[in-house]
Amino acid sequence: MGPHDLESSSFLEHLFARKILMVTGKGGVGKTWVASSLALEASRMGKKVCLLECSSRSQVAPLFGLPSKNHQRLAFSDHLDVMNLDTELNLRDFLVNQLGLEKVFEKVFDNKIVKSFLQFIPGLPDLVLLGRFYHEIVLNKKDNYDLVVFDGFSSGHFFHLMTIPQVIADAQVTGPILEVTNKVTRFLYDPENAGIVSVAAPEPLIVSECLEFCDRITDAKAIPLAAVLLNRVPWSYFESANQKSLSENPSAVELYLARKAEQALRSIETIQSHFAKGRTDSLLLGIAPDLGAVEEPVELDMARTYYGALRRLL
């Protein structure tokens, strides 16, 4: 074990103490990689993991060399299942599993009218998504997952999730939906259960948006923020012979790498000083390396290298 392995394993241990992790971040920062590699590492540590996404085109399946199937639970290993949720089918599952409305909807769900109507109910689509996480962790006794990881949408969308209880209240919804809303949100707002992992990359706009997001999430006091991960930090940061000075006639590649390293340092400083004042102890800050290209299917060792290099910012 190298000197930094302890840092990485304690980061992961703390993270995996929760039951649901939702990975978010601006487009292009590496959400899918982070969510997938977290799920993979957790499964290797012996946890039973469910990795979820909700996209028109699966981003996760190709990483694992799995076929892109809609709304089907695919087993990558005996400890890791992967599923791309379909919005409509997820809604049907929700009505049947959580609201116990099987008899009611069995025959009519496919009815276009009912479908259209249900999709118009404010807040329902997002509630249904949160309900799925709750279902997999609490209600799914068959698969008995220890951890659910969600390769989430971009940060902007998360705020809609925060407004669900208010939306449902404003629409004067009562009955089963209201009860489930309360149950699910109570569960997810508990830091022992759920946490958001906000991923950023070393660019000023990306970092500033990430930090803004973190502040808003913290202020909302809804789903807790578990970790901030600065991804794509140049490899030179992690090498022991860290800050090499430029050679006499630096090549374009050298200059480029040096510039990137400089940018990364500034990003790290920005993040550190942002959280220096009064941050909750439980918030994890980490930085992780740029490994060039994530091919499909990914080489499993890549996750090892990635988390092996991960550093905590204290």
Partner: protein, 377 residues
């Protein structure tokens, strides 16, 4: 071979088109590209209207973009453009309110609609609402008749295309006559009293009520009855926009970056647009490795440091991704722009002006360079 109305260069495109819709996955640089296109057009003397969906706060502030949703002419520090850019962020709620004002049958009803709890909710949360509001805003901008070019930055999800397929708000409702179906019983129910109506065996509504509760269902129906004309207004706006977008006055720009998810999204967009007979006439590939770095990496035989090795892997992978995307496109009708990562933060007018100039240069010259690079095995 090249169709008469195709454009040879970015400048030509900006002159010819009245509307450019900018599409692409999240994080590829849509907002920046939309800005750069607007800057270039303004530098050419055009009056530009720019609608941005969700620009970073820092950027918006730096450019003096209003946070209110009303189009405001930007003061471009340090630039002497003969044209102008009027920019706004999409304010969904404001657009919805303006549509209510315009299409509700009376001021009284407009007021009732706005006060209804579902109004706030509809503007924000109904599936696809964002796209419909953007369409309505675009229709308003076209109607204003004061812009030579309108540039629309779109939301990253693919849903951006839903409204193009069926330019009606809550289109499913119109398609299946749900509105009619729903409103009729409620109109009756109002006369009879809701519980009497339900107990008379209204099954469908009863089922939905078992999910939402009666009150919410009533509220929803009340709302739908009131907004009927407003929904028609959205439908009108949608049709108008759809017509414009199909004409030679408009085009779609796809923004991509050399990563797999962006490329896949771009392919899906191209396919979808093709199905609907819309034209993709501009491709912008952002965030490429700088040209000199690429040149070195392609020749390098001995890269000693691990960082450089990872960089080369990235370069090779990116080349594959680009090749895949280009194979998917009809390049005869396309203006291609390749933009390397910018060394400066693109947070002020001068930097965006630089970017705009880079884009123009690249579309003419680099196109050829990359074409040759890619042919090598």
């Amino acid at each position: 071979m090249i169709p008469d109305n195709a454009c040879d260069s970015l400048e030509q495109l900006l002159h010819k088109k009245k509307v450019i819709l900018v599409l692409g996955a999240g994080g590829v640089g849509k907002t920046t590209t939309s800005l750069a296109l607007s800057f270039k057009a303004a530098s050419m003397g055009l009056r530009v209207g720019l609608l941005s969906i969700d620009p970073a706060k820092r950027l918006a502030t730096a450019l003096g973009m209003p946070l209110s949703g009303e189009l405001k002419v930007l003061e471009l520090q340090g630039l002497q453009y003969s044209g102008t850019i009027a920019a706004a962020m999409l304010d969904q709620s404001a657009v919805f309110m303006s549509m209510i004002d315009r299409y509700a049958p009376s001021a009284k009803i407009a007021s009732k609609i706005k006060d209804h709890p579902f109004s706030q909710v509809t503007a924000g949360n109904v599936g696809g609402a964002l796209e419909y509001m953007a369409v309505a805003k675009l229709a308003q901008m076209v109607e204003a008749g004061i812009y030579d070019l309108i540039v629309i930055d779109t939301p990253p999800d693919l849903h951006a295309l839903d409204f193009l397929e069926r330019p009606n708000i809550l289109s499913r409702f119109f398609d299946n006559n749900v509105l009619g179906w729903l409103l009729r019983p409620f109109a009756i129910a109002r006369k009879l009293g809701l519980d009497r109506f339900m107990s008379a065996g209204e099954k469908m509504l009863g089922k939905i009520a078992s999910v939402t509760g009666f009150k919410a269902l009533e509220l929803m129906a009340d709302f739908l009855i009131m907004v009927k004309e407003v929904l028609e207004g959205f439908r009108t706006a949608g049709s108008k926009v759809s017509q414009i977008l199909k004409s030679a006055d408009a085009c779609f720009a796809i923004v991509c970056s050399p990563r797999v998810s962006a490329e896949r999204a771009a392919e899906d967009l191209v396919d979808k647009l093709g199905e609907l007979s819309y034209r993709v006439e501009l491709l912008v590939v952002n965030r490429m490795l700088p040209f000199d770095v690429r040149a070195e990496l392609s020749e390098a035989t001995d890269l000693r440091c691990q960082g450089a090795k990872y960089l080369r892997e990235r370069y090779q992978y990116e080349a594959q991704v680009e090749a895949k995307l280009l194979a998917h496109l009809n390049r005869n009708e396309l203006v291609e722009v390749y933009v390397p990562e910018q060394p400066e933060d693109l947070l002020n007018a001068k930097a965006l002006d630089c970017l705009a100039q880079t884009m123009v240069a690249s579309s003419a010259v680099e196109q050829q360079k990359f074409a040759t690079e890619r042919e090598e095995p």
